[in-house]
Subunit: 222 residues, 4 copies
DNA sequence: GATGAATGAGCATTCATTCAT
DNA sequence: AATGAATGAATGCTCATTCAT
């Protein structure tokens, strides 16, 4: 594993460096508005070098997604090792996700735009796409596993189909995080100014809600 | 209201027609890939006419958002008139939203992309932006009102700050709808193939979850 | 025919003007080295205007071919109307061709490069290609007709297949003209410096040769 | 001649190998579309090595021309040694040329494109250019000699200037061969589909024509 | 008002050539 | 000598926007 030649190590470092720069620029301007010229300039390499490491602009984006999903999976996989009730696992996965997107907003946005990129012919069926799909499946599996564990140990109602429940949780989390990020943007919807909240309070609110609901049971029993 | 001259009425009709056409094209191709040429052709007007009614391409997009949010608000406002417990109001608002996005996926996507457009200088602080903001605030208010009513009539736990709860619900709903739409796209993430679900089942799952939670109370009390 | 609107006439004039300019530049630099930028500049129009009138760079080239073959055909068609022996018709067609390429070297080169262009996907099966093919077939037909007339009136030996003979004559003429043009170029093969000849003497030599041959009959009868 | 060091012999072998590969690629794709990368890959050498042996891409092309003209000259020179009438020599040279281009279409195309390359500054007045010019002059001389012999032995009419006649024959041959090759190309002019012919029949038709002409003498004497 | 021809800034991508190793 | 990573000038093409009619 460590036996990479100096050449090889430098090649990877350069590639990572390009991704680092591209991440920032794409986060700032969005994928469409980011230009290869700017990425090359900021990365202090020639424009041609970009194409030496990535087949196309889309391939760079895909590289970002791959790196991000890989990092997220590493963190999520650790949670599953803990010996706690499934419901707690779900909450911890939520916390992990919260932590991750807080530290890496770039990847959050990259994941959101991922699909748009898939239309590009230059990357269709590329290995990177396959790796991204695999990562996404892996991430989903972590949630499903936690839910299954919870249903087995009784900490989670087993009235749901675990995979569907996972998609709901996953989608709801992304939506709520998106709301939180919208507030931070330069040009955000002004309505969000009126409420005082942040990413952490929002996600914790969601976790609580998904856990016990907002319905008042005593009332609802009437 | 009815006192518009024929000229004025025709002008508005033309503008609405352009929006009709633009909606379809942008839904099909996405905002960046849609061209003014195509919009003009399909709308059977000259390219210059587009600029007679809209300041820029972004302004057309904004026009779509404005119309969409206005339509959604009309539907949501009716729900609040019903004399039912707040929790039921929230669920009904959820249903209304589900119905709306099912019938108008265009607007759902328009809202999601709305922010991206805000960077455009040609529309900054335009009247349309203000009207969009107002609509968004109005939509949010409907949810907040329903929550407040529910907290007052006891159907909803009053341990949340209504505005923050509204944002969580709103965000979660958008996220879940997004998941459902992703499945339909030509180039969707393949992971979604493994699970069988649709927009309706997903949203109802979310509503249920937000209502009573997934936590098993008996178990959790142990 | 003459009932074109002013707009229409201007459109055609502009298109012809672009072709005029493109002809000169392509003759000078060759197709590959000529740039759309240069054509636009020299034609005093914007780069986009080029694409308003021609689908692609190749389409411009094709436009040149079409115009050239059309002009050549007009001149060749007139020859066939004359009431002279077929052999004389062939010689007159040769003279006509000589005259044409002398006045329009651009078109001669355009025809030579024509095939190379056909690979371009943007023009495949375009109407212009069809018109060019039609023109080429027409030109070939003029030669074949003259040969057939000559074979019938006895002025030409009828030991050849007319169509194959036509291709030989056509090919030989192009080859000889090419030789003549090579001498004129800035960077021509220096061997041609040693001989004193010009386009006219060369083509007339070829016509003579094709007519009576270089073989000495008395000697060859031995 | 044999006194080359091993190093020197290897150097030449490597250079020839590069030319072998370049020939095939350029025949396939054309000079402009062939890339140094592809040549290097197929030749199994580094891109830099190409520049060790050839000053530039154009220099490679020139190398092909040089080798081709050298090979052709070797074959043509042998013909002149035969003790036959000049007219037969000319016919035999024609046959030799026909044979050569049939076996080496690469060189035929290389010669045709030769001139275009001469504009390149990197090769202007290079030694290779000089050798190419010398080869061309040599080839021409073979034809001129055959014609002179024929005029002296009475087999060829001595009404022509031998050098000019040579250029006509040379040019006509190239033109006719070109026609034959055009028919084979993927994207050839469709008009050629209508006639059934091949390289051999075409060239033999030309040789016959240049020999005895197509004019019917009896008729023309009336 | 309506039009659409003209514009040209802007972009992704290619590829011959160089040069440090 | 051999290499191939790095380069960046060059290019064809797009499309939002303008403006003369």
């Amino acid at each position: 594993m460590q036996k990479l030649s100096r050449k090889e190590r430098e090649r990877i470092a350069r590639k990572e460096h390009i991704l680092d720069v591209a991440e920032l620029i794409i986060l700032e301007r969005g994928f469409e508005s980011a230009t290869m010229e700017e990425i090359a300039d900021k990365a202090e390499v020639g424009k041609g070098t970009l194409y030496l490491h990535f087949k196309s602009k889309s391939a760079i984006y895909l590289g970002i997604c791959e790196r991000g999903s890989s990092l997220l999976n590493i963190e999520m996989s650790k949670v599953l090792l803990e010996e706690v009730p499934g419901m707690i696992l779900v909450e911890k996965i939520g916390d992990t996700y919260l932590n991750f997107v807080q530290r890496n907003p770039v990847y959050f946005h990259a994941f959101n735009y991922y699909e748009t990129i898939l239309n590009d012919d230059t990357i269709a069926n590329s290995e990177t796409v396959l790796r991204c799909e695999k990562s996404a499946k892996e991430a989903m599996t972590y949630i499903v596993r936690a839910l299954q564990i919870g249903m087995q140990d009784g900490s989670i109602k087993n009235i749901f189909e675990p995979r569907e429940l996972a998609i709901i949780i996953w989608g709801a989390s992304k939506g709520v995080v998106n709301m939180a990020f919208m507030k931070q943007k330069r040009n955000h919807i002004k309505i969000l100014d009126d409420v005082d909240f942040n990413l952490k309070s929002l996600i914790h609110g969601l976790i609580h809600l998904l856990g016990t609901g907002m319905k008042n049971d005593h009332q609802s029993n009437n």
